[in-house]
Symmetry: C3
Amino acid sequence: MSRKIVTLLTDFGTKDGYVGSIKGTIKNLFAEVDIVDISHDINPFDIKEAAFVLHTYYASFPKETIHLVVVDPGVGGDRMPLLIRTAQHFFIGPDNGVFKFIFSREAYTAYKINVDDYILDKGFTFHGRDIFAPAAAKILKGVAPEKMGLRLDDRTEIPTVYFTKESEGKYNLEAISIDRFGNIITGFSKRDMEKINETTINSIVIKNKTITEMNAYYSQNEQGDVIALWNSMGFLEIAVVSGNAQKTLNFDKYKDNILISIS
Amino acid sequence: MSRKIVTLLTDFGTKDGYVGSIKGTIKNLFAEVDIVDISHDINPFDIKEAAFVLHTYYASFPKETIHLVVVDPGVGGDRMPLLIRTAQHFFIGPDNGVFKFIFSREAYTAYKINVDDYILDKGFTFHGRDIFAPAAAKILKGVAPEKMGLRLDDRTEIPTVYFTKESEGKYNLEAISIDRFGNIITGFSKRDMEKINETTINSIVIKNKTITEMNAYYSQNEQGDVIALWNSMGFLEIAVVSGNAQKTLNFDKYKDNILISIS
Amino acid sequence: MSRKIVTLLTDFGTKDGYVGSIKGTIKNLFAEVDIVDISHDINPFDIKEAAFVLHTYYASFPKETIHLVVVDPGVGGDRMPLLIRTAQHFFIGPDNGVFKFIFSREAYTAYKINVDDYILDKGFTFHGRDIFAPAAAKILKGVAPEKMGLRLDDRTEIPTVYFTKESEGKYNLEAISIDRFGNIITGFSKRDMEKINETTINSIVIKNKTITEMNAYYSQNEQGDVIALWNSMGFLEIAVVSGNAQKTLNFDKYKDNILISIS
C-alpha cells in the first residue's frame, strides 16, 4: 500500500515557520502521509499565479492525491474554505480564484468546509494550519467529503479566459506567469485556438518586437533570438533562446499585453 | 509503524549541496526516515531568527520527532554540540542560542554530544553533515541520549525576554522576525502580557505611526491600513492589510523599536 | 524494505510548477519513491555550477539512489539524454557537462536513453517531465539499463581541471561556486595537490588581498578576517569569518581568478 500524497502550494516563502507548522500538523494527525512541496514562492497574494501554477502540475499526480493551496489574502474574512472532489483528486483551499482552472477543466463537486469543526484557539490568522491542514488529514483518514461541509450544488463558474478579441483574427493576450527563466507564459492555449476555430498564428507583437513564426522547441534558433512556442503545458509562450525574455523585452506582466493575429 | 521524522532548519540556502549532503548522510545511516524541510533561508548566522522560527513549528510535529537546527556561525570553535530531550521531542544543534525558546518553554535534559564518536576525516568545517546528521541517525536507531554525550545537569538558562520596561505601563518591544509578507513580529506574546499582569494594549507606536486598536484578523480593515494583532503564534504583530508593513513603515528590524502603552 | 530514493537537482527555481510536475510524474509511475529535493536554484543554464553541486552530495546517499539532474539549456536540441550506472548509484540527465565530476571520479557505464520509448504528445520543451522523470521511474521499477538505451562503449572523458599552471609553483585557480555565505570555492582540491606532488600552499592572491596561511576552520580567526581553508568537500575555499567573502572582496566568479604559490 503506497502512502497518500498531499501537495503544498503556498505564498508563505521559505524563510518562516509557516510551512513547517502546516507539515507538522498534517503529520501529527496522519503520520503515513507523503507531503510534496510544489512551491512556497508564489508572489504574495497573487491568486492568478497560484491558479496557473496549480494547473501545470495537478494532473501529473496519482489518483487520490490531495492538492492543498494556501494563497489567501482574505484569510479570516468571508471567503469560503473549499473542498473539491474531482474524478482523480481532492483540492483544499480558499474560494478566491485559486481553483479557476480546475473548475473550467474538470467535473467536480465542491463543499464549503465547516469551520466550526476545527478548534481555533490559537488565533484567527492561520487557516492554513488550523483549518486546511486538519481538513486534509480528515480526507487522508477517509472521512467522506459530505461529512466535512455543505455540498454547493448550485455552483456555476464563469469559464476563465485570459484573452480578448480586438477585431476579426486579432486577439489581445494576457501574460499569466513569468517563469524563472524569464519565459513569458500567456493565458492562451492550443485548446483556446481550437475553441475559436483557428489553426495558424500569423504574427505576435510583444513590446516593440514582431514574431512571425512558431518554434517547435527552444534551441531551434540562435542564442538571443526572441521566439514563440507552444510550451509543455500547451500555452503560447514568448522566450529568448538561452536568455531571459522578460529582461530582454523589459516586459511587465501586470501592464503589458501581447497582440496576436491568427487565421 | 510510521516512519520517524527529522525536521531540518538551516541557514544554508537552497543553491548549494550542503542540505543535500545532510539529507544523504541521514538516509544512508537510517533509510526509513522522513526528512521534512522547514527552511534553509534563515538569514546567514541569524541565531535569533532561527530560535524564533524553530519555536513556531516544533510543537506541531508528532511525538519523537527529531528537530535538527544548523545555524552555526561558530562552527569548529568552542560552542558545544547539543542534544536535547523534552517530553515530546528531540533537538540537535549548536549551543549558541538557537534553542532559547525551547529552554524557556519546555522541561528538558541536555547532553553535550561527544564529538570524538564521529569520524571527521573529511575536513573540519561541516558539523551539520559530520556530527549533527549522524547524531540524528543514532537517535533514529534508538541509541540512548546518555550514550551519546555528557548529561549537563547544572545547566541554567536565563529566560529570554524581547522587551524592556521603560516606565509604568510603557514597554519597548524588539522585532524578532519579519516574515515574507513584511509582517513585523515582535517578541512580545500574550503569555508575556499575563506574566506582567496587564490585559489591555492602549497604543502601539512604530516609526511615525500610532495604532490604538487591536485587530482580530487581517482582513478586518481596509487594504493598506497599518494594523496590530496577536498572530497565530500568540505574538504581537504589526501588519498592513494586503500589503507589506516593513516596506510601508520602512522598518529596520536590527535598529527600530516598537513602543507600547498597556494597562 | 526501504523506499528507493530519487534526488532532484535543477535550475527550475521554486516559483513555478515545473518541479511539481516532475515529482508528480515519478510518483504516478512508481508511488513508493522517496524524492529528495537537493536544489532548484542552480543559476539558470549554469552547467558548471550544477556539476560542482552534484559532486558535493551524491556520495552521501545510499546505494542504488537515482540522481536526477535537469540543468539543460540545450533541451530539445541534439545533446544526448544520458543514463549512467556507477558501482553505487544511477545518474540521469543531459549529456552537457553536468556529470563531469562523476566521469572523472567514478568507474561508470553510460547509456544514451532511447527517446522513442517515451510518449511526447504534450509538447517538445519539457524533457525533465517527459523523458528524465519516466526514465527514473523505469530504474525504480527494475528495468535494466541495457533495455533503456544504447550502451556508449567508446566514451572517453577528458578529465576536468579548474586550474592552470602559470609557472613553476604558480597556479591560476578558477572559482567554481560561490555559496550562500559568500564563500568562494575554487576548483582546486587536496587531491589535485597530491596529483601535482606538492604539499604546501605558500600564498594565495585574490583581488588585492594576499593570504599566507591556511586555516583549519572558520572561527579560528577574528570576525571579518579573510581566510583560506580546505573546505568540507576538500576544495580550497576563500572565506570571511562571520562575513561574506564575495562582497568583501567584490569578487566576480565569471571574471576574477585566484593565484596560488605552492611547493
